[in-house]
């Protein structure tokens, strides 16, 4: 019975993935992407990866989905006008479409062959045994009780540190691509009163829930990344509600918030090296506390970076397109 659920879920995911790429309308594509993300999150739950499920739902389906949705604002109108005419969407004269058929057939056949080998490779995989036993043996020394948090912030803290750096890099890249636009002109758009009230109510709840997720990460599913997305959601909501928080604080403070997760992690690592240890080798007595501090600062930094990425993308077109004042 339960295996039927898994098979059904697998079929749904494959269908959604294919449909998401084949549908001619961009808006359908984006919404199917949301559905695909949620299907994937369900698959993580079925596989017992609750941490991954929360991360997937929050960052991959949630945050990235919001970015895609926001992109529709600029892309979708044009596509929807032309949707009834396939050739216009592809922007190619008919003979070009015909000349594309042969390479496509070859590509599809190649992919089918590739799929066959991939399936064989996955099916025939020897059982390597994984690292569950060694993680379990060393868990008491890690300072936390939840194995995934122990791996993320202690056993493989180096990867996690670099990853916080990658998010910061992503933001820098977005700055390079779109110009640094954190500042939404105040009064440019007046948010709806009801939206403002809801934001006012939801913000503290989101904050508390984020803090809960962060704290619970020590013993169960949850942790810095999941908390960061919730806190990032606060920033995004405030941005939408006409209160862009980074426009209200000085630039140096923004940079401090942005870099403190990465910076504290690194400075701590350097201090540990100066103490004769290796990078990120916490003294066992303080490991739990240090991990909590790193997680908190890291979550705030990631939340700030996510907010800034959204704010920047959201205002991508504002140089040319004047925002219409809504009353």
């Amino acid at each position: 019975m339960s295996i039927l659920i898994d098979i059904l879920l697998a079929i749904i995911m494959v269908y959604l993935a294919i449909q998401c790429l084949l549908t001619p309308r961009l808006i359908q594509s984006v919404f199917l992407f949301f559905a695909f993300g949620l299907g994937l999150a369900l698959a993580w739950v079925r596989l017992g990866a609750i941490d991954v499920a929360i991360t997937e739902a929050a960052i991959a389906a949630g945050f990235l989905g919001v970015l895609f949705l926001d992109a529709l604002k600029s892309f979708a109108p044009k596509v929807s006008v032309k949707q009834d005419n396939l050739e216009d969407i592809y922007k190619l004269p008919r003979r070009n479409i015909k000349s594309l058929i042969l390479p496509r057939v070859i590509l599809v056949l190649g992919l089918a062959l590739f799929l066959f080998i991939a399936l064989e490779a996955v099916w025939m995989i020897p059982d390597g045994g994984g690292l569950t036993a060694s993680a379990e043996a060393l868990l008491p020394q890690s300072g936390v009780e939840h194995p995934v948090t122990a791996v993320l912030l202690n056993f493989r803290a180096y990867d996690t540190w670099l990853e916080i750096g990658v998010i910061l890099l992503g933001l820098l890249g977005v700055f390079v691509a779109g110009g640094i636009k954190l500042y939404k002109k105040p009064g440019a758009s007046k948010p709806d009163p009801m939206l403002r009230q809801v934001i006012l109510f939801v913000t503290p709840v989101l904050f508390l829930f984020g803090a809960f997720l962060l704290y619970i990460g020590k013993t169960g599913p949850g942790g810095a990344f999941q908390a960061a997305v919730l806190w990032g959601a606060i920033g995004i909501l405030l941005h939408l509600g006409g209160k862009p928080i980074f426009a209200m604080i000085p630039r140096w403070l923004f940079h401090l918030i942005l870099t403190m997760g990465l910076g504290f992690f690194l400075v701590l690592g350097f201090l540990l090296i100066a103490d004769g240890r290796t990078l990120f080798e916490y003294p066992p007595a303080y490991a739990g506390l240090l991990i909590l501090i790193i997680e908190t600062l890291g979550a705030i930094s990631i939340a700030a970076a996510l907010t800034a990425i959204y704010a920047n993308l959201n205002q991508m077109e504002e140089e040319t397109n004047e925002v219409e004042p809504t009353t």
Binding site: L21, I309, N312
Partner: protein, 100 residues
């Protein structure tokens, strides 16, 4: 057939769908979505092996790797989206129509 095998086979299928999408989809946004689907397939294979290797709990290492990987993939996708929107804003192009 074990539960993990359903998902590891699905992971290979999603991986191939993603690759196909990157090459065959024309619109920037769809290409970016295809990369995310491809990533989803890769992460699914990690987690399916983690479930296979469970003792008292599922193997935490792949879980941690996948969390890291998802965040990294989202950062790259966000950058790609920024580039695509900037291109659209400057030129009105939404596909790689010619060699630019």
């Amino acid at each position: 057939m074990e539960t993990y095998q359903i998902y590891s086979l699905t992971s290979a299928i999603l991986f191939i769908i993603g690759i196909g999408g990157i090459f065959m989809a024309r619109h920037f946004i769809k290409k970016i979505i295809a990369t995310v689907i491809m990533g989803g397939g890769v992460f699914l294979s990690f987690v399916s092996f983690a479930q296979r290797d469970a003792i008292t709990f599922a193997d935490p290492v792949p879980h941690a790797l996948v969390i890291t990987g998802i965040v990294v993939a989202v950062a790259s996708a966000a950058l790609a989206l920024a580039l695509a929107r900037r291109i659209y804003q400057l030129t009105g192009e939404e596909t790689f129509t010619n060699d630019k």
